[in-house]
Symmetry: C2
Subunit: 337 residues, 2 copies
């Protein structure tokens, strides 16, 4: 078989073109007329000629493949936002010549098992991680193995030793809270996650800061729940009917959509509306008219890819401030608050 | 350089393990203790040993890579559903040893340009296509080039010459319409897309069939719009206030969420509720309590991957009925209808 392996020359002969034209079809297809390109592709297919990626990789030392996990299949909106982030990474990667491979995993260990298999099987250049959290085993594993990576999300609770991009959640909830303060509200409640999640605590701190700066004691204005519409409804009920809050800032759109459903049920009984602001600008937020804090997902993805390129070009320097980038979110104003 | 290329033997020496252990780490990592695995990975990293994928591919003749386009970055929910389909394909593919590469494209031509580049660069085994439509140039290109593929979506308006999986939209809207008929409604309106889209016409035909079977003339009970919440609101206004429909079936959740917003505005003014049923079971549907027709996305993805495996194993037979699979949707009952 080895002696019959097709070469660029046999492809050129079959397609009745020069070797340079075959090379152009492979490396600069835009330079070749579509008809010629189709003929060369037909010859390649017929002959089973397939040396391209290996040859390119030999030249550059890179596979130009990056990989990232897709979030678990879920009903809620948070998953949708990270799916859009995958799309944005694929798009940004393509502009710099990278392709993006996706995989699924149920936890850190399963994700690490995927790293091993992907590195062995496809010689990936790098990984993009999402969903960083306390005691994140993935980043320590990758550092130990010397595998390039960038995280979308800070390294929570440990000394920051890797390259990352994140969105400033604290600033986001400050923007939301200040909007409600400006509208004259004082008792502004927070629907959050239980203490201990990096992202959740960060977002909560912005609301807390803004209230304290305005001279309002935030200590009895919080209700927490899991990230579900039902818990949003329940938390809003508690804060509005028992704690008499005048407005709500929520740690996520999923909780905010539950809160908003509760407020709308209430207004349909003739009671006054209570403004609600969410976090994430998920698809459901637009449909529901939810005012929300939007993450700049495309900018975050482009920054991740740029950092990866820097990392691959300039090796494994310890990260400095320019490799740890916090992006600003912005408010998307709709009818809810 | 070539003579210094690391081998499985040099990796084994560096890691102080047998060659078999190195092979196990690469091909059956679960058989190897984590500590040993880490040592072998460290040796691989230090030596830059990277022959694995090429070797595997030489053995099997396959790259075990499939690719699919991610839908454009959009505000609406339809994109979310297809993102979840990408996740499901990745998950199903992993069970059969495939990895999934994603790419972005703005139209058919851009998607075809991606095929060319991906085939040249990564020696893909096959493609999964979504969003089939009339005059779909992608499928004719792939057939001409002899590239294996499966589509999630029928070949609309042409003789079916390829392998596909789809969900029966007509049955979906029949289920929705019959639910509303069973509840005693007769004048059931349809919020649709303009005539001419395969998916939209198929979904509309189910509603029309069910109404005719019940002796109701559907001809003046349709309003059409683009796939936006705003158009859903507008279509519902026209059908409810001017055509006096008693219930609404919608071609998509995006339109249904707009319709539902209109109905809720109306009930908040004391007018009676009008049931609304959507299509897709998107994230916003759960948040809004929208009754909707759900596509079995995981089953569709698993079927696509199974068909691809059959195709790769058994070559390029002309498709028969068992390669063209229509899956049944089901209703997800929530509060809206």
């Amino acid at each position: 078989m080895a002696s019959e392996r097709p070469t660029i020359t046999t492809v050129a002969e079959r397609a009745k073109v020069s070797r340079q034209t075959v090379s152009n079809v492979l490396n600069a297809p835009h330079r070749v007329q579509p008809e010629t390109r189709a003929r060369v592709h037909a010859a390649i297919t017929e002959l089973g000629y397939r040396p391209h990626r290996a040859a390119r990789q030999l030249r550059t030392g890179r596979s130009n493949l990056i990989a990232m996990r897709m979030q678990p299949f879920s009903e809620d909106d948070a998953g949708s936002v990270l799916d859009r982030f995958v799309h944005a990474v694929a798009e940004s990667g393509e502009l710099l010549g990278f392709r993006t491979l996706v995989f699924t995993a149920t936890d850190d260990d399963a994700e690490i098992a995927n790293y091993t298999d992907l590195l062995d099987s496809y010689e990936l250049d790098a990984f993009v991680l999402t969903g960083t959290h306390h005691r994140d085993r993935r980043t320590s594993w990758l550092r130990k193995e010397g595998v390039p990576f960038v995280t979308f999300g800070r390294p929570w609770g440990v000394r920051a030793k890797h390259w990352w991009v994140d969105v400033d959640g604290k600033t986001g909830t400050e923007l939301a809270t200040e909007r409600l303060l400006d509208a004259g509200h004082r008792r502004i409640g927070f629907v959050g996650w239980p203490v201990g999640s990096g992202v959740g605590d960060d977002r909560r701190s912005g609301w807390e800061n803004s209230l304290r700066a305005a001279g309002v004691d935030p200590s009895r204005l919080v209700a927490v729940g899991e990230n579900s519409v039902a818990d949003g409804y329940r938390c809003a009920t508690e804060l509005v009917t028992r704690r008499h809050v005048e407005a709500l800032v929520c740690v996520s759109d999923t909780l905010a959509l539950g809160a908003l459903a509760m407020i709308r049920d209430r207004t349909s009984r003739g009671e006054p509306a209570v403004p609600v602001i969410g976090f994430d600008d998920s698809p459901g937020a637009a449909a529901m008219g939810l005012t929300t804090v939007a993450q700049p997902l495309r900018e975050a993805a482009a920054t991740c890819v740029r950092l990866l390129t820097d990392y691959l070009d300039h090796g494994t320097d310890e990260p400095t401030a320019q490799h740890q980038i916090l992006l600003a979110p912005h408010l998307v104003i709709r009818s809810s608050g």
